[in-house]
């Protein structure tokens, strides 16, 4: 490495290469899944333009958001250090401009290349045309703006203001663009048209200028951070805020009351560490679909897709919150490329099972609050707009599908869903804890899975010639999952990674889960037949929620005890 | 009670404490029957482990310098006893050893050392009488 530039690029590559590989893997996996899906529907450019447009629109949306919200810089969004992520560079003999532009260009390039790769792959495999230059420029512009919003501010408030500003600017400018086209069709159809993202040179000029402005702003912001200055406007606003907050603090000092026990203390700790962040995200997220729905209503006053959209989002949001929460809850810190559990967390005099249970509790409570709030926002919006009859129609359609069931079945279904949700949180937590320990094994698994997906897609197109293989896989996996769960449970109980009381509670809940699943199966089985391998797989999967309670404490233990 | 610990000459810390207390007693800065600081206090003052103080007090007790009063403190023993005089002699002997060793190093004969001692003694007496004259004049 002879120049500082080479050194910086090497450092960036070394700290981000695993994440990049992971992203590539996810993209390919996703593309292949989409290809298989498209192949199933038999939609191509030639046959059905309308549906092709919808498909293209959806895929463009997913690809762009996937490439923009990459892990590398998203991680810097919720980092402990507000501002520039590569602070070690401040004491190196490089100018701030180089220090900022090199990683920025690196991140933008990786995002754009990722997008081009995925889009080309999809286009080639499915035969649906995706306009590359326009979208690639949009991706580049978005990434630059979000990086600017993430690196320039020096306080949490500044970060949120910056990010929200960029989001609003994005939505606003896009709305203007869409209105300008004066397309009478619904938005998704319009967006999917093959000429929608084919842009005139003026647009590229605008993107370039925006990127340049964002880069300049970032360089200035980081330079201030380098020399210990603050954004004066920011501090001015903040000082007003803190002055306002300081007075009530002086009067009441609840911080002097001791905790009633270590469980209470740990709950407080986890809440302060990541629960508040989750709550904040939960409170602010409904604004996005709200904005989208309002704009959609304004653009297309005839169609009423709001209830469907709300329903989908309400269904998805707990899982999204769960993903965010379990990533934060692991307590692992990414320090200059290495992931580790802090010594402070590792020396808590509390058993691993209890620590995991408290993390799950905080995740569950915060997700629940977010979920309820999302529902309330939906309800509020519907009341204001006055489209409750659309909701009724959906309700009728659903009842028609499910058929006539007594009320208590809803209870069974809901309890089943809740238990599954908690166990999936546990699995996500365990996954988040295991992954940094064995990145190579995980990557190998992804490669193997990717290969099989390709195989499955190919097989689907060729009339399921390999069906015996898939059946065999079904049985094999059920056996493997079953044995794996038993093994994990045994290890957890022997090493006492989970205490007897906690395990007892989990076991009782699991019995309830088994009972409700069986009941649902018995009730539903006359309606449709389930092939045997799938049945075997489902039975083995029944064991997974119980094993999940064991796996997360085991993963935490391996971090704690090296 | 002012004690200084030095890590320079390799003398164990507890020994240094013992020696310094001996000196304080012999030179009259610690009176008979005076209480020595509690172990904990002295440990915190000197920044040494309590065990070291325990050792020091134990050594002093076995040499007859101090005595313990039924677990309630350590007190300086009466120095007029023949044991005390013996201890004071030991202190001087140590000083003499050091002087003689240094003199031998610097190639002084024993007679030269004696001459030196006599000269210093005379000088010391002169300055003491001068001071007492001044004190009488201004006193």
């Amino acid at each position: 490495m002879r120049t500082p530039l080479q050194a910086m690029l090497w450092e960036l590559w070394r700290t981000s290469r695993l994440e990049l590989l992971f992203r590539v893997g996810i993209h390919v996996f996703f593309i292949l899944f989409l290809c298989g899906f498209t192949a199933e529907t038999g939609v191509t450019e030639g046959t059905n333009i309308g549906e092709a447009n919808v498909l293209r629109g959806v895929i463009i949306l997913m690809l762009v958001s996937g490439c923009v919200f990459s892990i590398t810089w998203l991680a810097s969004l919720d980092n402990q250090h507000i501002g520039f992520s590569f602070r070690l560079g401040f004491s190196r003999p490089v100018s701030t401009t180089a220090l900022v532009l090199v990683p920025m260009i690196y991140l933008v390039s990786t995002a754009v290349v990722g997008f081009l790769f995925s889009a080309t792959l999809y286009g080639t495999l499915s035969g649906i045309f995706i306009p590359l230059p326009g979208l690639a420029s949009i991706v580049a512009c978005l990434v630059t703006c979000f990086i600017a919003a993430s690196w320039s501010p020096t306080s949490m408030a500044g970060k949120w203001i910056g990010t929200i500003t960029v989001a609003i600017a994005l939505i606003g400018s896009y709305t203007v663009f869409h209105i300008q086209r004066q397309d009478p069709e619904p938005w998704i159809l319009a967006m999917g048209k093959s000429d929608y993202f084919v842009l005139a040179w003026q647009y590229y000029a605008v993107f370039l200028v925006t990127c340049a402005i964002a880069a300049v702003v970032t360089v200035i912001g980081v330079d201030r951070q380098r020399h210990g200055d603050d954004w004066e406007i920011g501090t001015f606003i903040l000082s007003g805020v803190t002055r306002f907050r300081a007075q009530p603090k002086a009067l009441a000092s609840p911080a002097t009351k001791p905790f009633t026990g270590r469980v209470a203390a740990q709950i407080w700790y986890e809440m302060r560490r990541f629960g508040c962040k989750m709550l904040l995200i939960g409170v602010l997220t409904p604004l996005l679909p709200l904005a989208a729905v309002c704009i959609g209503d304004w653009l297309n006053p005839n169609t009423d897709f709001a209830p469907v959209m709300w329903l989908v989002i309400i269904f998805i949001c707990p899982f999204a919150y769960q993903l965010v929460g379990s990533d934060e809850a692991t307590g692992l810190r990414r320090k200059q490329g290495a992931t580790e559990l802090s010594v402070f967390d590792a020396t808590r005099s509390m058993p691993n099972g209890q620590l995991i249970a408290i993390k799950l509790l905080v995740i569950a409570v915060c997700s629940l609050i977010g979920f309820v709030w999302m529902g309330m926002t939906a309800g509020l919006h519907s009341t204001v707009v006055g489209n409750w009859d659309s909701w009724d129609k959906i309700g009728e359609t659903t009842s028609a599908i499910i058929g006539d069931v007594p009320g208590y079945w809803w209870l069974v279904g809901i309890s089943n869903a809740l238990l599954l949700y908690v166990s999936s949180s546990s699995m996500l937590l365990a996954f988040g804890l295991w992954l940094p320990l064995y990145p190579t094994r995980y990557f190998a698994g992804v490669v193997v899975a990717f290969f099989h997906i390709v195989l499955a897609v190919w097989d689907a197109k060729n009339g399921w010639a390999l069906q015996p293989l898939w059946i065999a896989y079904g049985y094999l996996f059920s056996v493997v999952i079953f044995i794996g769960c038993i093994f994990a449970l045994r290890k957890a109980l022997i090493t006492r990674a989970i205490g007897k009381r906690l395990f007892g509670c989990a076991f009782c809940l699991w019995l309830i889960y088994i009972g409700s699943s069986l009941a649902i199966y018995v009730k539903a089985s006359p309606s449709f037949a389930i092939p045997t391998p799938v049945l075997a797989l489902s039975i083995s999967l029944l064991l997974v929620p119980l094993a999940a309670t064991a796996i997360a404490p085991l993963a935490l233990a391996s971090h704690r005890h090296g | 009670m002012r004690i200084e610990i030095s890590l320079q000459d390799g003398v164990p810390i507890y020994r240094q404490i013992v020696n310094q207390v001996k000196y304080l007693i012999a030179s009259g800065q610690l009176d008979a029957g005076e209480e020595l600081p509690p172990i904990r206090t002295l440990a915190e003052q000197l920044l040494v482990t309590p065990n070291t103080i325990v050792k020091a007090y134990g050594a002093m007790e076995s040499e007859g310098l101090v005595y313990k009063r039924h677990g309630a403190g350590t007190y300086v023993a009466d120095m007029k006893s023949p044991l005390a005089r013996k201890e004071q002699k030991k202190i001087l002997a140590q000083r003499a050893d050091a002087l003689l060793a240094e003199a031998s190093q610097l190639n002084f004969t024993f007679d030269e050392v004696l001459d030196l001692l006599r000269n210093r003694h005379t000088a010391l007496n002169k300055s003491i009488s001068k001071e007492s004259n001044n004190a009488r004049k201004h006193g």
Partner: protein
């Protein structure tokens, strides 16, 4: 004889190809202060991490209060006060929040002692940990470790990078902890004069092995520093039993020897050396003699 607070038996640990610990055995008894001495990367922190259960003993065994710290994290960690080398504390907490949180884990928390230490150190309770200087972080971490009157105080490089005032505070806390019945303290340090001043017992670790252990006073009385003058200039000295190191300054050599001083004098006399000065070696001199570059002690 009091029961051992810590028992380490034939502990070995490898990280990749590096042997961090190699067949280490030691015991810690209550009522004493133990100094852990060794050069960087020789195994001090690895040993301390084993005592806390932060590393699982793969070869050999570790028992703290008679229990395996990995199997009984609650029982062991509750009675241990630990200050890590990196002063690892949550950045976002305030000092009073940190103390309140730590108090919940240790039933024997003494709030008056914590308040007294806060005042002595002059720390502002309302400040966040990320705003604190290095010395203040060490002080805050020390209060959290010591205020619950732990039976075992484990300090990993407590004085490194700190000014003399804060160092005195730390030593003071160690003394106050050990002055109570049945407590022990283990602290690792590079500052050998501190270890010399503050330890009853010393463990010297080199390349993962325990090269020297014992009561500090006995060690110092056993090791002697001899100044030897030779009539003619010597290039090197022949190997002599019990001589740990030999350093040349012109015609005079400084020799550190362990134990049989008289025999060494005689051996030196045989090769024409005259011992001009003898004194007890300081811990620093012993350390450098045993593990430094001029060391002649090649214990395999």
């Amino acid at each position: 004889m009091p029961e051992n607070m810590v028992e380490v038996h034939q502990l070995s640990r490898q990280f990749g190809t590096t042997r961090a610990l190699d067949g280490l055995s030691l015991e810690v008894q209550p009522g004493l202060v133990y100094g852990l001495v060794g050069a960087n990367g020789q195994g001090k922190t690895t040993l301390i991490k084993h005592l806390l259960g932060l590393l699982r003993a793969k070869q050999g065994s570790v028992r703290v209060f008679g229990m395996d710290p990995v199997k009984h994290p609650v029982n062991v960690l509750q009675r241990v006060g630990y200050l890590s080398e990196e002063r690892d504390l949550p950045e976002w907490m305030r000092i009073d929040e940190l103390l309140r949180y730590t108090a919940a884990y240790h039933p024997k928390w003494d709030q008056s002692y914590a308040d007294e230490l806060l005042e002595t150190f002059g720390l502002d309770k309302a400040r966040k940990i990320k705003e604190l200087s290095k010395g203040m972080r060490a002080q805050a971490g020390l209060i959290a470790a010591a205020a619950h009157r732990p039976e075992l105080l484990l300090l990993d490089e407590p004085s490194t990078g700190l000014d003399a005032v804060v160092r005195k505070d730390i030593l003071n806390v160690i003394i106050r902890t050990v002055a109570d019945e049945g407590r022990a303290a283990i602290f690792s340090s590079h500052l050998l004069d501190e270890v010399e001043q503050m330890s009853d017992y010393v463990f010297m670790i080199d390349q993962g092995k325990l090269v020297l252990r014992g009561n500090l006073d006995k060690i110092k009385e056993q090791h002697h520093l001899l100044s030897v003058r030779f009539a003619t200039s010597q290039e090197t000295l022949p190997p002599i039993d019990d001589v740990l190191s030999a350093e040349q300054h012109g015609k005079t050599w400084s020799i550190v020897c362990n134990g049989a001083t008289q025999k060494v004098r005689e051996s030196l006399g045989e090769i024409g050396g005259e011992v001009t000065q003898t004194r007890n070696a300081s811990l620093q001199e012993i350390f450098v003699a045993r593990v430094g570059r001029n060391s002649l002690s090649l214990e395999e």
